[in-house]
């Protein structure tokens, strides 16, 4: 899993990655075997456990994908996740900037935030339904309640981690306060925000499923309860499987896309450059500039002292 973020660079890495993936697949196979043993081999012939067996679940999963119910439910759930995370990002980053940037705000809100953070988001469920009614809104609200804290805390941590010399240099070049925020603070906290977003995504996915068991008629969480009510245990297990697989893929995608270095550039450049620049011994570094600097560098007419 972690290896996914470190692909590239050298055959050795690829081999070790392949070995890791192979091992994980093997362990997964063992787990499915254990699942099969626990539901099909060990229980008595008439036991209800047989309904939960992988022999039932996988065909049910295929069927649910084929008839579109799985796609519809997954899409609904993912849309709620996206809306919730976007709202959490919209609230968490500005609040985190305030908390990280203003010591007074940080000291004043510390206790409240810790308390709210440690309050299970699901305990807000009845209130969310009262306030937002039935449908997707309360589910999204619960995702916000879960996801906003890691975003606030990591954004604030990002502000603290800003290099003071960046700010000093920018101010000495004439940057106004709003320019400091736009050119230094926002790009500077970006890696921390991405880390926070990854944490938030994990928490939000976990909260999403139980949140969908309240007051909605669609989504993966709803499907779990619906399958139980219809005694369709194969579908129930298929949905659980789908929740796990989707969550795994989301986390994997987040690891690749939300790597603090960003997917944009970096690795390849970094490697080639490290080779090229060599140790910092400087004669190359400080090669005197070409003669006739003035005419090129200064477009303004030369001033006489």
């Amino acid at each position: 899993m972690n290896g996914a973020g470190r692909v590239v660079s050298g055959a050795g890495r690829v081999v070790s990655l392949a070995r890791t993936v192979g091992l994980q697949v093997a362990v997964l196979a063992v787990a499915i075997l254990a699942w099969w043993v626990a539901t099909d081999v060990l229980p008595a012939p008439q036991s209800i456990a047989h309904a939960f067996s992988p022999e039932e679940a996988f065909p049910a999963l295929r069927e649910m994908i084929a008839d579109g119910t799985m796609g519809a439910n997954a899409t609904t759930s993912l849309a709620r996740l996206a809306v919730g995370l976007a709202l959490a990002l919209g609230i968490g980053v500005p609040v985190g900037l305030l908390v990280g940037g203003l010591p007074l705000v940080e000291r004043a809100t510390g206790g409240l935030f810790q308390l709210l953070r440690m309050t299970s988001p699901l305990s807000w469920a009845p209130i969310a339904v009262i306030v937002f009614g039935v449908g997707s809104r309360p589910v999204e609200a619960l995702i916000v309640a879960a996801a906003v804290w890691p975003l606030i805390l990591s954004t604030a941590a990002g502000v603290h981690a800003l290099d003071r010399d960046w700010l000093l240099t920018a101010r000495s070049l004439g940057a106004r306060r709003s320019e400091l925020v736009r050119t230094i603070v926002l790009p500077g906290v970006r890696p921390h925000v991405l880390t926070g977003l990854r944490l938030a995504l994990g928490i939000a996915w976990i909260v999403l499923v139980p949140a969908e068991m309240l007051g909605v008629q669609s989504g993966l969480g709803y499907e779990v309860l619906n399958a139980r009510d219809q005694l369709a245990y194969d579908e129930l297990m298929a949905t659980v499987l789908a929740i796990g697989i989707l969550g795994y893929l989301l986390d994997l995608g987040a690891q690749v896309l939300l790597r603090p270095g960003g997917p944009r550039r970096g690795r390849r450049l970094a490697l080639s450059a490290r080779r090229a620049s060599g140790p910092p011994t400087s004669h190359t570094a400080a090669r005197p500039a070409a003669p006739g600097l003035a005419p090129h560098a200064r477009r303004a007419p030369a001033r006489v002292p």
Binding site: A170, L173, R176, R190, S277, T281, T284, R287, A300, P305
Partner: protein, 247 residues
Amino acid sequence: MVAVREARYRYEGATADVFAAVDLELRAGETFALVGPSGCGKSTLLRALAGVEPLTEGTIEHAEEGRRPSLVIQRPALLPWLDVRANVRFGQRLAANRDAAGRIDVDALLADFGIAHVAERLPRELSGGQQQLVAIARAMAIDPDVLLLDEPFAALDPAARWAMQDWLRGLAVELGPAIVIVTHDPDEALYLGHRVGLLRHGVPGIGPIWEPRRVSRGELPTLPERAELLSLYETTVRAGRELALAI
């Protein structure tokens, strides 16, 4: 031309001035080396000149409208998410320096500094000396009337430091703006400064101010100003130490 008049600085709540009665006129093209032991206030004076630290008293006059000083500190402090070209262009994108973009061409500047071949690299891919060159190029890109260098080479290894000193001395006049370099190294001051001024604890103003002959690095010990500077430097360091012990 930039002129400092009757500058005084005192930390809030402190009982003594960091510096006082500082008068200084800086002429385009000249390098003024401000030398003094740690804690004598030379960095504070430089930050006041840079406009990031308000003076307790006194004024700083800029003769030319629309031009400002720019500061380079000991650490290059480049923005790690921007490549070299974007770092150098940073100041030009600020509202305060809109005009500078028309006067200074960043790519020509990179070429003149010998760093055009690393324009697309990220700062972390450069050596310490190269990073400091980029930092100086960034400061030059806003077409400053005075370039303020605060111990700019102190963090470099000796070979890189000497190379950078030679480089700066070689083009200081061509660069255009007045340069103020703050250093605690008397030899660096004498090597780079057209004028060298000493800033001392508890002594008002900058002084004495020498105008040393331009000599090679090896000939520095033959400068008569050097003996005088070292002797005063030692006295002020000892005074500073006694002051520290007394407190």
